[in-house]
């Protein structure tokens, strides 16, 4: 019996959300008094033995570059086989793009119950109950899994990565990889930018910025903070910013440590996408903007004056540290 954690990689690098999943899975293993192991698919340039620092003793790898693109069908088959081979009873994913594609499919294959979007360790005192976010972050549900094997996908940015000591061994998994029925013809990645769902800090703009030509002040602040950038729905709809930056109920849902909303009124649909952020800062010239009710810090003022001053203040503060 063990806990198996799916380690997601992109361009040969282990994703930050997977490090969270490893820490989380290792903590479940500790709770159950069993071993924690990982599985990675495809070719990886990172040193996988170093993942031992996050609490796993072994990494199973199917070292085949045909797996560098996510094909849910192939992934599910291989991961399910690895679960059977390793005798794992709990399988952990990050609830990121790959997890959303694969976790439920593996669960169905194994006939295992799944909690997707988990946000806390399971309660194993009476059964196996996992807390997850529901209603787009407006509430939580405690879900009991009844099956022998349990699958959990963990919300990104909801479990703190802990780095300790340890080295993992690498075990090559000899599993036959079927030909993929999905032919990837193009990849458009915004290189160098922090992926929105993994970012610690997100700076976001709304209609209050009046037009795409005014985004410079926001980008300067984001650059100073090493933050990802986002926008509200009207901004995405008006094509002031690319569609993938839209956060909200029908856009991307994020949970950074710090969310800075500039010129966003804070409609309930927008809040649904960002209310899991740990600290929310709202800058808006309208003191009645509903977003202030959901914020931790706020400035009622003109974004065009406040934002450059904030960038300068942060720059100055960093210089003095």
């Amino acid at each position: 019996m063990s806990v198996l954690i799916f380690i997601d990689q992109s361009d040969g690098h282990v994703k930050k959300s997977s490090l969270e999943a490893i820490t989380y899975g290792a903590d479940i293993a500790k709770q159950l008094g069993v071993a924690a192991e990982g599985i990675v698919l495809g070719t990886v340039s990172d040193d996988l033995t170093a993942l031992g620092k996050y609490g796993i003793s072994k990494v199973h790898q199917v070292n085949n570059n045909a797996l560098n693109h996510v094909d849910a069908q192939l992934y599910a088959k291989i991961i399910a086989e690895a679960v059977t081979l390793s005798g794992a009873k709990v399988l952990v994913f990050s609830h990121n793009q790959t997890g959303k594609a694969v976790a439920a499919r593996v669960a169905a294959r194994l006939k295992a119950g799944i909690v997707s979007g988990a946000c806390a360790l399971p309660d194993t005192s009476n059964g196996f109950v996992v807390k997850k976010t529901v209603f787009s972050g407006k509430a939580f549900a405690n879900i009991s899994i009844h099956s022998d094997i349990k699958v959990i996908s963990l919300n990104p940015n909801s479990y703190k990565t802990i780095v300790g000591e340890g080295t993992a061994t690498i075990a090559d998994l000899n599993i036959i990889v079927d030909p993929s029925r999905i032919k990837v013809t193009a990849i458009n990645k915004v290189s160098g930018d922090v992926p929105l769902t993994e970012a610690d800090i997100v700076v976001s703009g709304g209609r209050g910025l009046k037009g795409p030509e005014n985004w410079g002040i926001l980008l300067d602040l984001a650059k100073e903070l090493g933050a990802a950038t986002a926008c509200s729905r009207p901004v995405g709809d008006a094509h002031w910013r690319p569609h993938h930056e839209h956060v909200g109920q029908t856009g991307v849902q994020i949970a950074p440590n710090l969310y800075i909303a500039i010129g966003i009124s804070g409609a309930i649909q927008h809040l649904a996408g960002v209310n899991r952020s740990k600290v929310i800062v709202v800058i808006n010239k309208d003191s009645e903007a509903p977003f202030f009710k959901a914020a931790d810090y706020g400035i009622v003022g003109d974004a065009f004056e406040v934002v450059p001053q904030l960038t300068a203040a942060i720059k100055k503060m960093k210089a003095s540290v």
Partner: protein, 247 residues
């Protein structure tokens, strides 16, 4: 060419979220029910667009729910679609639901199954992948664009930090999100036509329930906003650094 579109009923996005019966049930009082936006705006509308281009396309809708979900499925039929199937069950377990849809899918011989990327109440993102597994079909999740030429689909999907374009032959299961299509409003002709479109009710097949909701919780209330004066911006930087410790 047959498309199956999965439809679920969710509370309106502006609904107040509250619970009753010792936090074990969602409080439905005063809640307006809508078609899950991802199912409606993206997957259903895209299926309708495909039918508008090619009259040989037929669209069937499926929902898992009790009789009170019929207004929602009629509303979906008012947008488009030829007929609907309701599997009579109030289950909330993803595996049970996916098993029902997969059963209908196998019987109906669909070329394409559309789901929304998730429902806005349960946020599971599970059904599409499970249907694909249970019908042994390829699965493309988080699609932002869907084109079809003959029996080959060209799909843009969201991946970590960007997008990927892929070609896949039918049959296929796709979960749709923003970008796949634009929201439409049903017209009077559609609403009238929906009244007489076939809505078949079937009983669920036997399937295991692998999970159940034990209770709900609301997040702790925020302490309230700490306002900083607009002429003292550096104080905000200091608070974020020293008090909130986030920068």
């Amino acid at each position: 060419m047959k498309i199956l579109v999965c439809i679920s009923k969710t509370p309106d996005t502006t609904s107040k979220i509250a619970f009753t019966d010792g936090n074990t049930k969602f409080d439905e009082s005063g809640v307006q029910w809508i078609i899950n936006p991802y199912d409606e705006w993206y997957s259903l509308v895209r299926a309708i667009e495909l039918k508008e281009k090619d009259a040989a396309v037929s669209i069937h809708l499926i929902t898992i729910g009790t009789a009170d979900s019929e207004p929602i499925i009629r509303k979906a039929l008012a947008l488009g679609g030829d007929e609907a199937i309701r599997v009579n069950s109030n289950s909330s377990d993803a595996y049970f639901i996916a098993t029902q849809i997969a059963e209908i899918a196998k019987q109906g011989g669909y070329d394409l199954i559309f789901t929304g990327k998730e429902t806005i109440d349960y946020n599971g993102s599970s059904i599409g992948g499970m249907i694909a597994e249970l019908t042994d079909a390829p699965y493309i999740s988080l699609a932002t664009k869907f084109e079809l030429a003959g029996t080959t689909a060209t799909i843009t999907r969201e991946v970590d930090g960007g997008e990927e374009v892929a070609e896949v032959d039918l049959p296929l299961v796709v979960s749709c999100q923003k970008g796949v299509a634009e929201q439409r409003i049903p017209n009077m002709r559609g609403i009238m036509a929906a009244r007489t479109k076939p809505l078949k009710v079937v009983e669920p097949i036997a399937a295991d329930t692998l999970s159940s909701i034990i209770s709900y919780e609301l997040p702790p209330a925020k302490a309230g906003v700490k306002l900083v004066a607009a002429d003292n911006v550096s104080e905000l930087a200091r608070l974020l650094h020293e008090e909130a410790k986030v920068i």
